[in-house]
Symmetry: C3
Subunit: 333 residues, 3 copies
């Protein structure tokens, strides 16, 4: 369910008004008031099904899907047929919900924000409506705490950091310029061209986590992007939508974690590690600097390389290649 | 020609006053009032020629060049001979033109800026003189819209984004902390040491383009850096001076596009792709994550690797290397 | 010694009050008033020894170390035994010193800051207590100059740049969003889990250096991170704690320089070069784009590859691999 602290629900809208020219099947008078993933959608939600074949059973109020993707298991949902369901969703969703923004003429610190007494707002800090800043927290100069954002106690929010759609625990450090909670990167396409997928989730930063300077953490598509307790993220990393970073995991500079990746507790990544989307890095796994991970990495293993493979194998390849060249060239390498 | 919305032209200056100790050949009383690339320079412009051999014919008013690089085809230009023309240009150009800046004591929103009625400026936003913000556009908290910058309609400029020397179309999204229009990276050197090349171009962001959080887009040296219509750029990418990103092209996180690269319409790049300067990526080409592209990539092809090569070839190398090591080591890999 | 311009020394504290449950050996009534590296610590400083074996001789007032790491050479120091000295230091150091921050209700430009007459502060710029901005320097819109930061003459500090714990020379350029002087990345761990290492050093940016948009430069752990005279750093680079970048060195975009690396004068790095911690890049060395450097690189050499090796060797490997695959596959590559 969309968190109303971060999204403005624009009121129930009749499915018939969403369909455009698309064919509607089922109850045309149904209204929806939210958006959700296909799996989690309830009777008040609009969802989309972009997979191949027949959509699984769903409790969604309305579903955007392709002709041929429906059967009798969808009798409870109003169906909107379209050629590109994901793109159609991207173009329609703003009619149901949009991120809350600052109003014209809003003050730098909104009177509805709750700033606990011992919190400090440095000069130029902006705090949105209904935001919360806990006791002992320091908000840096020119930082931006967006509408509804909640920050716990004893946090240090660096200068020029920006938070939106985020819930931050206690004892969290954000270094300067950390950018937390913006829309994730997703592009759908239809006959009109590419379109950004709007994201309706949040970022959760758990207690004691630290996030480096210039890091970007995108909010989830529907669910949450989670930075686990005591996780330590170095400068200029990119954490995409719906990633989960485990407790105490460590990511060195330029780490790039693609959408929906899960990183186990205590995993460690050297600099410039990339992980492809939907992959899983096991608990305590180690990824050497520069690894480009395209497969799941089992717990406790150490991998390296582009593409990444177990460290021993990578070292063997590197050494072997050096020897082979040396031999061929008479050892002059 | 330099865009006076972004650069302060400091008035005509006599070539004789620019020459320092350099030998001047031709009309010493000539004055120049602008700077331009060697190819595009007109009779009022100072240009430089840094190539090998004899400079081609030029209509430039004045040319910085090396002894021996001139012949009778330059009779119309005043010539200033120097040992390092590019460095000489870098050290002289500020006497002809400089970027417009905020004045001391300037207000946060300059009274000469034109903010259309339905645009929203969030708290802390700074808007420079002669800037324009179109109807329905939202400027985020603590964003900076530099002098002369024009932003179209229905754009979303994220918090802490910074724009200078930029023209932005309609329906453009800049996520938080996007940095658009700063000086490009270029270093010349002479006996005094390295010197930054001043850039006099712009950034053009066309309609419907989206630029991620923390992305940097440098302005052109003389011409423009162009982000094409509906192009989609993920977080923490670097787009260098004079790059052209084609319509609907997609660049995932950490993409690094070096100076003067052309990216064709609809090209797609996975995460952490680098492209060397002056290369061309064809229409619809696909570059796998991590590719380091040092050659032109033909339209429609898929490449991968470091250095990048056609995907099939790269996959073959990766597989072959794995097998070779496995065989040598008795399959214990 | 900690620079009191940047750190608040919280007053002498008795070693007995720092020990927690740890065993103390030596003068328990000793007080310390600073923190320092093990090598540099004097009689008023707390230091830690995290190495293997017996700690070398030290003049530190108090030392956190493991049982068994001490001998009679430490008679002059008060010893605090603990299981994880580095983590213990991380948890204790804030009782001795903390970075200076803005006070609640502080003005945007602190009255104790010294702004020379011809300096320009753009709208939204924040300048902390005791900061200095030299003549002819331009501070961009919404930039943040932290407490005690000193900036020389004729500098250009870009919009949204953030400086803390930094001393900046003359004629320095920081492009927009450059983030200078934040805490370095270091994680210690003990039974309570991972903990950030607090950094007590500075960033020194020498005359004529240029730092790109979105670049992060972390301050030193105890000593300084130094950006040498006329060094040129492109956008989105990461310069870790205690790095020294030599005079006139050039680092292209996405350069990642790990902790305590030394880069020689005039060294040049292509885009996306990474250097592992504590490595040394010799004077005038060249690192090709994408190099991942895990060894020291001698002066004047050119290296490339992942892992990086001398360029000739790397080119040979790349070419050989291509031929080997081609041969095996009947030249269809």
């Amino acid at each position: 369910m969309i968190d109303p602290r971060f999204y403005l629900l624009r009121g129930p809208i009749a499915v018939a008004n969403l369909a455009g020219g698309g064919r509607v099947q089922g109850n045309e008078t149904r209204v929806v008031s939210g958006v959700a993933s296909f799996d989690a959608a309830g009777p008040d939600d609009l969802a989309y099904f972009d997979g191949k074949g027949i959509a699984p059973k769903s409790t969604a109020g309305a579903i955007l899907l392709r002709e041929g993707a429906a059967n009798s298991s969808h009798d409870g949902s109003t169906l909107i047929f379209c050629t590109e369901p994901r793109a159609a969703f991207a173009r329609l969703a703003h009619r149901i919900a949009v991120p809350r923004e600052f109003a014209a003429g809003a003050p730098a610190v909104d009177p509805t924000a709750i700033i606990e007494e011992s919190a400090i707002l440095s000069p130029g800090a902006v705090v949105g409506p209904d935001a919360r800043v806990g006791a002992g927290t320091l908000v840096g100069a020119n930082a931006v705490i967006g509408p509804g954002v909640a920050i716990g106690r004893r946090c240090r929010i660096g200068p020029a950091a920006v938070l939106s759609c985020a819930l931050v625990g206690d004892d969290v450090t954000l270094l300067p310029g950390a950018l937390i909670g913006q829309n994730g990167f997703g592009v759908a396409a239809d006959a009109l061209g590419p379109v950004d997928i709007p994201h309706f989730g949040r970022v959760i930063v758990q207690d004691g986590a630290s996030i480096g300077a210039g890091v970007t953490v995108d909010r989830g598509l529907f669910g949450d992007t989670v930075i686990g307790e005591l996780a330590k993220i170095d400068n200029l990393c990119q954490i995409a939508h719906n990633v989960t970073v485990g407790r105490g995991a460590i990511i060195a500079a330029f780490g790039g974690i693609s959408g929906s990746v899960t990183i186990g507790d205590g995993a460690m990544m050297g600099g410039r590690v990339g992980v492809a989307d939907h992959r899983s890095i096991g608990r305590g796994a180690i990824l050497a600097a520069g690894s480009a991970v395209m497969h799941d990495v089992p717990a406790g293993e150490t991998w390296a390389g582009y593409p990444a493979k177990p460290l021993r194998q990578w070292l063997r390849e590197v050494a072997w290649l050096g020897r082979a060249i040396g031999k061929r060239d008479g050892g002059q390498g």
